[in-house]
């Protein structure tokens, strides 16, 4: 899975041979992968296959029984707890399916929290929080409480909160899981556009094929392993000819 990047760019996340057990359950059984700066990687696979466990291990929330995770130049296993927490606060953002906003705080206050925790002064935090809500098209909801937002609006506030610190990696676990098709689309467009603009790598766990289609690449996890699509030639993924609809209308069955 460690495709060398054409430009010789170093991977932002480099995971090697990750093994993690919960008692008798072998949640990860030797996973290796690289994620490059600005790359959106979709992680798919059946329920219980280890996707969330993988995400938490890459983020340093869970510590693997064996194997290593490197973020940038730092190997998570070689850091003490405090340093690891600090790294996570400054360099990682998180988006979950729902319910991640603090219910007693307004949208803007939710977005400023990670900045305040990172030591940014209150005035600046508020300015940056506002700008981030604007960037996600939910600037008008800054004063609303999470309960007063629709699922799609709340999700965009959550993305604003995850991106406001300009993390190097965004971890998203089923970010569209609670949304209808259209809100899922607008959420994914916002998430991937902004992450790409910022050069943020995204690890996107999802069951949903349409959500995964916003990624640059996907892996499938089965039984705690990456299931390689074996050594068969896959369709050409040259983005140069993907930007047009020519390839699309070449399948007459689909063009109505």
């Amino acid at each position: 899975m460690s495709t060398p990047d054409a430009q010789g760019t170093q991977p932002l996340i480099r995971a090697r041979d990750l093994v993690l057990n919960f008692g008798q359950t072998q949640a990860l059984r030797g996973i290796s992968l690289d994620v490059y700066p600005g790359e959106v990687l979709a992680v798919m696979g059946p329920s219980g296959s280890g996707k969330s466990t993988l995400l938490h291990t890459l983020a340093g929330v869970l510590v693997p029984d064996s194997g290593t995770v490197r973020i940038g130049t730092r190997v998570l296993g070689e850091l003490d707890q405090a340093t690891r927490d600090d790294l996570r606060l400054r360099e990682c953002g998180f988006v979950f399916q729902s319910g991640q906003l603090l219910p007693d705080l307004g949208a803007l206050d939710n977005v400023t929290i990670p900045l305040l925790l990172a030591g940014v002064r209150r005035r600046e935090a508020i300015d940056r929080g506002r700008a981030e809500l604007d960037r996600l098209g939910v600037g008008q909801y800054g004063a609303r409480y999470p309960a007063e937002l629709s699922g799609g609006q709340a999700q965009r506030v959550a993305i604003a909160r995850a991106l406001v610190t300009r993390p190097r990696v965004l971890f998203a676990d089923e970010p569209t899981g609670a949304l209808d098709s259209l809100s899922a689309e607008t959420t994914m467009v916002a998430l991937t556009d902004l992450a790409r603009a910022d050069g943020t790598a995204v690890v996107l766990v999802t069951h949903d094929a349409r959500t995964a289609a916003y990624a640059d690449r996907e892996i499938i996890v089965r039984d705690g392993r990456i299931s390689a699509g074996i050594g068969v030639p896959l369709v050409d993924e040259n983005p140069a000819d993907a930007g047009t609809t020519a390839g699309f209308s070449a399948h007459p069955g689909f063009s109505r």
């Binding site: 094929a209 068969v232 369709v235 993924e237 993907a242 699309f248 689909f254 109505r256």
Partner: protein, 176 residues
């Protein structure tokens, strides 16, 4: 679906007479539309000409007049695997060929999960391409592409479900 490759795969699973081969085919894939005898023999003739199967005299057929039985050559075995493990271009008529590949893989004790995964990857790659094509497109184009995306997604769900039921399907195919 690709009848020639499917018949070839069935012959690899068990050499047989044309009459029995048609019966096997209809049992798995006939559904509403059983294969015509004429088509079976025309296909067999083509497979012989291409060196993919051999014809032998004699043996017992469970019915029908034919005295010839057919078995797969080494080249035929290679062809079956090429067909089986090469993903098809996503399109609405895909399902039957993919189902045929899956059943033949199970009959031959090949890795059916891998071929489904390869197809899955191919479908997902197509969805990524189409999703990229939606960027900056006008609404009419976006809606047309969405239609395609939903179709490919339906295929994908079928692939996933079939993958999750391979053990069951294997038992059915073997026990049948």
């Amino acid at each position: 679906m690709d009848n020639a490759q499917t018949l070839l795969g069935l012959l690899e699973a068990a050499p047989s007479h044309g009459y029995d081969l048609k019966g096997e085919y209809d049992r798995y894939f006939g559904g509403q539309k059983p294969l015509a005898f004429g088509q079976v023999y025309a296909t067999l003739a083509r497979l012989i000409r291409d060196g993919l199967i051999l014809e032998a005299q004699g043996g017992e057929s469970s019915g029908g007049p034919d005295r010839k039985s057919y078995s797969v050559t080494a080249a035929g075995r290679v062809r079956v695997r090429e067909w089986m493990f090469t993903p098809d271009t996503p399109e609405p008529t895909l399902q039957s060929n993919l189902f045929a590949k899956t059943v033949i893989a199970l009959l031959l004790d090949e890795d059916a999960a891998s071929l489904l995964d390869a197809q899955r990857a191919c479908h997902q790659a197509r969805m990524r391409e189409l999703t990229r094509a939606k960027r900056d497109a006008d609404l009419a184009t976006i809606l047309t592409i969405d239609h395609a995306l939903f179709h490919i997604e339906a295929d994908l769900r079928w692939i996933e479900l079939t993958g999750a039921r391979l053990t069951e399907l294997r038992a059915g195919v073997r026990g049948a």
